[in-house]
């Protein structure tokens, strides 16, 4: 179920000291972090909702979601607004580095041992400028969220 990334662009960003990447086409905008209004009875990785030019946008602590510990509230954080299955979500990350165009032959699957809890969300590993970049699967992110709330 690996998406073919050849010819597509990925945006690389930093979460909990690791480099991650996302399909650029899913990204709507990047903005500075603003304090979120917390929602009751939601999983802890859902930080709350913010006002995105009139739309109510949920923001997710990506680090916590991937099992790497809560990122906490930090004014220097950045929110990447992505569109998954017609819905907008904000992902809280530390910083955004660059945009790359990978060769699909470079995409390597993530070994189970190395992945841990985050493994379900990762599509593969990529080398970018001698850094190891984990490629995130948006489809998995979207699927998990509604189920969490039904629990």
């Amino acid at each position: 179920m690996q998406q073919d990334y050849s010819g597509q662009q990925l945006i690389v960003f930093r979460v909990a000291g690791r480099d991650l990447a996302l399909d650029l086409m899913a990204v709507r905008e990047i903005r500075a972090s603003t304090p979120a209004t917390p929602l009751p009875h939601v999983p802890s990785h859902v930080r709350g909702v913010i006002n995105l030019r009139g739309a109510v946008l949920p923001v997710i602590d990506l680090s916590e979601r991937l099992g790497w510990g809560a990122a906490g509230d930090n004014a220097r954080q950045v929110i990447i607004v992505v569109q998954i299955a017609g819905r907008l979500q904000g992902l809280i990350v530390e910083s955004v580095s660059d945009i790359v165009r990978p060769d699909s032959a470079e995409l390597q699957p993530v070994p189970d041992v190395a992945a841990g809890e985050a493994g379900a969300f990762l599509e593969g590993i990529l080398a970018v400028d001698d850094r190891m970049v984990l490629v995130l699967s948006l489809a998995q992110l979207a699927v998990e969220l509604p189920q969490q709330l039904a629990a």
Binding site: H41, I50, N51, G54, V56, P58
Partner: protein, 720 residues
């Protein structure tokens, strides 16, 4: 342009054609307008559908449309006669065409209607259709004798210097009689408006008098005088008609019952009309069809319309909403000391409000699209139940929000089904009760007091309270010894799982009806009211707000967070004194509403208040605890209690830190980008740009009135 887009446009046009055909057929049925013009309209509508369908290869639809079109062609060039039976066939054919279109749209199997198809073929071949099964408007011309024309002048008829009396005399001169006066709408003298019009007349039409001739008499009064034709009831052993001596017809008073403030149609509990002797009637002219077609005028008054993608409209609506918020923020932060600036701000405020109204109006649609489906529904119900129904619709042009149009159709359908199935009696029973065999259902919509009022009323048997109570006891909804008032019994029909149908019929009676209706209406922010007179009929009213996206909200603080409570759910706000608080063993607390702050003991005054308030003890909900706000106040004495109530789950007192402000807020849905969250009904953007959560009042009340130790999972009710 993709094929899907073209196809979607085709189906939209099909809907318009079907609606135009329905309207033209209604005109033909009522005899309003030029027959050949109306038939032509139906023909053109069917022809359009056939053409488009051919392009997409919807063969079944094309074939049926072709048959229909051929029969219409015969009608319009006079080779086939436009008899009542023919009209009924056209009506049913239009319904079958509707089914074909729907099947083509959804990809379902096309409907089969062999008897209609063969009837159409016969008509095309010149065979006169005989109406064997349609419960339509009277079978054939022969029974024209004994038909009744009902003349109902509105107040406007008397205001322009018109005198309906002359028109009535003309009808008499043309041979109508006897005349019966209906005074049932007449109010007591104290309430009588001298400029009002409360009387209506029923005149029997002689054989051979054409409906169009009667309408011609009222040509110049237009809408001011309502003229309706009522088919005769099936002739029972009628008393031998006495010879009529022209031109002094007998005028009989029908003693109207006590006048009702509610719109209860009361028809005459009199003997069936007696046909006059043909021999003594002055020979009538069968005049030419009136040239002006009132039905045509309505549609010819063509408004210039533009088709706009709904997403674009919604985007503008959102942007304007944002503008309003930003303008509010600006007003808040600007230190307004100079007069010039203050003036400019007032101007800006006015402009944004006007802009908002204008944009909201874009989302408004006439409720006509919902009402248009009703005539067909009624026809189907007539066939299924064997009852006869005359449908009166008014206020189709009343504008309501798009969301209301989308969601009010189901409730209205169900209410009308109930009215025909349970409310109206079979024709025989009606005649025994002295009513005309054809029952009346009135559907009307109007703006009233800043709200929309939709009423469905019938002149049937009314709510059978004894049976309702018996069923409620049987279902365990109330206890056998409960002492309920008449209104409370009537309200039982809204209880979940309630149905008085002894056999679960296909139409209604599954016991989910009125409960779901009420929920749907409440989800739109409205209410349902029912009123009934046994033997005379029932009236159900739906009261809806004008716009759904904006609401009056009370902004409250809980800890560091702000929340919004819908103002229409708030009963009272109080700062409680210790003696008003009563602890309960499970750790919860109740508020004693009967005690005032200042009275340590209940006194006369507070008893009065409480008798209006209902329950004496109201459970307290710690909002901070329910929503997990860490720093919110949890002891009632330190906070403020907002007493809220819901029709369904009762009353509770919400404990908040403080009440800040009341303002109009734009409702945003959480579900758009997220999911529903327990305890939260929606969100809004506050003046400082942050997101405020709208509390789900019902869920919070239910969490404490459900009376269990374990926390009840909070349900959500979405807004907009």
């Amino acid at each position: 342009m993709s094929l899907d887009l073209v196809r979607a446009t085709f189906f939209e046009e099909c809907d318009e054609c079907l609606a135009a055909a329905e309207e033209a057929l209604a005109g033909l049925r009522d005899g309003a307008g030029d027959t050949s013009d109306l038939v032509n309209r139906v023909f053109r509508a069917v022809h359009s559908i056939k053409g488009g369908a051919g392009a997409f290869g919807y063969d079944a639809l094309v074939h049926f449309a072709h048959r229909f079109e051929t029969a219409l062609d015969r009608l319009r060039d006079g080779r086939a006669e436009a008899s009542d039976a023919a009209m009924a066939l056209m009506q049913r054919s239009r319904d079958v065409l509707d089914d074909h279109v729907r099947a083509a749209r959804t990809g379902d199997v096309a409907p089969v209607a062999p008897e209609i198809e063969s009837a159409l073929d016969q008509m095309a071949d010149g065979v006169v259709p005989t109406d064997t099964q349609a419960p339509g408007p009277g079978p054939g011309q022969e029974a024209a004798a004994g038909r009744t024309v009902r003349v109902v002048p509105s107040p406007a008829a008397l205001q322009n210097g018109g005198e309906p009396l002359y028109l009535l005399r003309e009808l008499v001169r043309m041979g109508c009689g006897p005349v019966r006066l209906d005074t049932s709408e007449l109010p007591p003298l104290a309430d009588l408006d001298p400029a009002g019009a409360y009387l209506s007349w029923d005149l029997c039409m002689p054989a051979g008098l054409d409906e169009s001739a009667v309408r011609e008499v009222f040509e110049f009064s237009g809408d001011e005088i309502a003229v309706r034709f009522v088919a005769p009831p099936p002739p029972p052993s009628a008393p031998h008609p006495e010879p009529v001596t022209m031109p002094q017809p007998a005028v009989e008073h029908s003693a109207g019952a006590k006048p009702q403030p509610q719109p209860q149609p009361q028809l005459l509990p009199d003997a069936p009309p007696e046909p006059a002797h043909g021999a003594e009637i002055v020979p009538l002219r069968r005049g030419p069809e009136p040239a002006a077609a009132p039905a045509g005028a309505a549609t010819a008054q063509s408004q210039r319309v533009v088709r706009v993608d709904l997403n674009r409209v919604d985007r503008v609506v959102n942007l304007v909403g944002e503008l309003v918020i930003n303008q509010a923020m600006l007003a808040q932060r600007l230190d307004v000391t100079s007069d010039d600036v203050a003036e400019a701000m007032v101007s800006l405020d006015q402009l944004t409000r006007e802009l908002q109204d204008a944009v909201m109006a874009m989302r408004a649609q006439p409720i006509r699209t919902v009402f248009e489906r009703v005539p067909r529904l009624v026809r189907e119900l007539e066939t299924e139940t064997g009852k006869r129904v005359s449908l009166e619709v008014s206020g189709e042009a009343t504008e309501v929000d798009k969301t209301v149009v989308e969601r009010i159709g189901e409730p209205i359908t169900h209410i009308i089904r109930n009215a025909v199935d349970h409310g109206l009696e079979p024709p025989d029973d009606r005649i025994k009760a002295g009513k005309p065999a054809t029952g009346i259902i009135r559907l009307c919509a109007e703006h009233r007091g800043g709200r929309i009022l939709i009423t469905v009323s019938d002149d049937g048997r009314g709510l059978d309270r004894a049976r309702i109570l018996a069923k409620a006891v049987e279902r365990g909804i109330v206890s056998p010894d409960a002492n309920l008032s008449d209104e409370e019994i009537e309200q039982l029909i809204f209880a979940p799982g309630f149905s008085t149908a002894s056999a679960v019929s296909n139409i209604s009676g599954r016991g989910v009806g009125m409960d779901v209706v009420r929920q749907s209406v409440q989800a739109l922010g409205g209410r349902v009211l029912v009123s009934s007179r046994p033997g005379h009929g029932t009236s159900i009213s739906l009261i809806l707000p004008l716009t759904l996206a904006i609401m009056d909200g009370m902004v409250v603080a809980v800890g560091q967070s702000t929340y919004v409570i819908p103002v229409n759910a708030i009963f009272e706000i109080i700062k409680p004194a210790p003696h008003q608080l009563c602890p309960v063993s499970s750790g919860g607390m109740m508020l004693d509403v009967r005690r005032d702050r200042d009275d340590a003991h209940p006194g006369q005054r507070s008893n009065e208040r409480a008798s209006r308030a209902g329950q004496r003890y109201v459970p307290i909900v710690q909002v901070a605890g329910a929503l997990g706000v860490p720093d919110g106040i949890r002891t009632p004495e330190e906070g403020v209690l907002v007493i809220v109530e819901s029709q369904r789950v009762g009353r509770a007192a919400l404990l908040v830190d403080e009440v800040r402000d009341q303002r109009q807020i734009v409702i945003k849905s959480l579900e758009t980008n997220f999911a529903s969250v327990a305890g939260v009904a929606g969100a809004t953007i506050m003046g400082d740009g942050s997101v405020g959560l709208i509390l789900d009042v019902e869920a919070l009340i239910a969490s404490v009135t459900a009376a269990s130790a374990a926390p009840v999972p909070l349900r959500r009710e979405a807004i907009g």
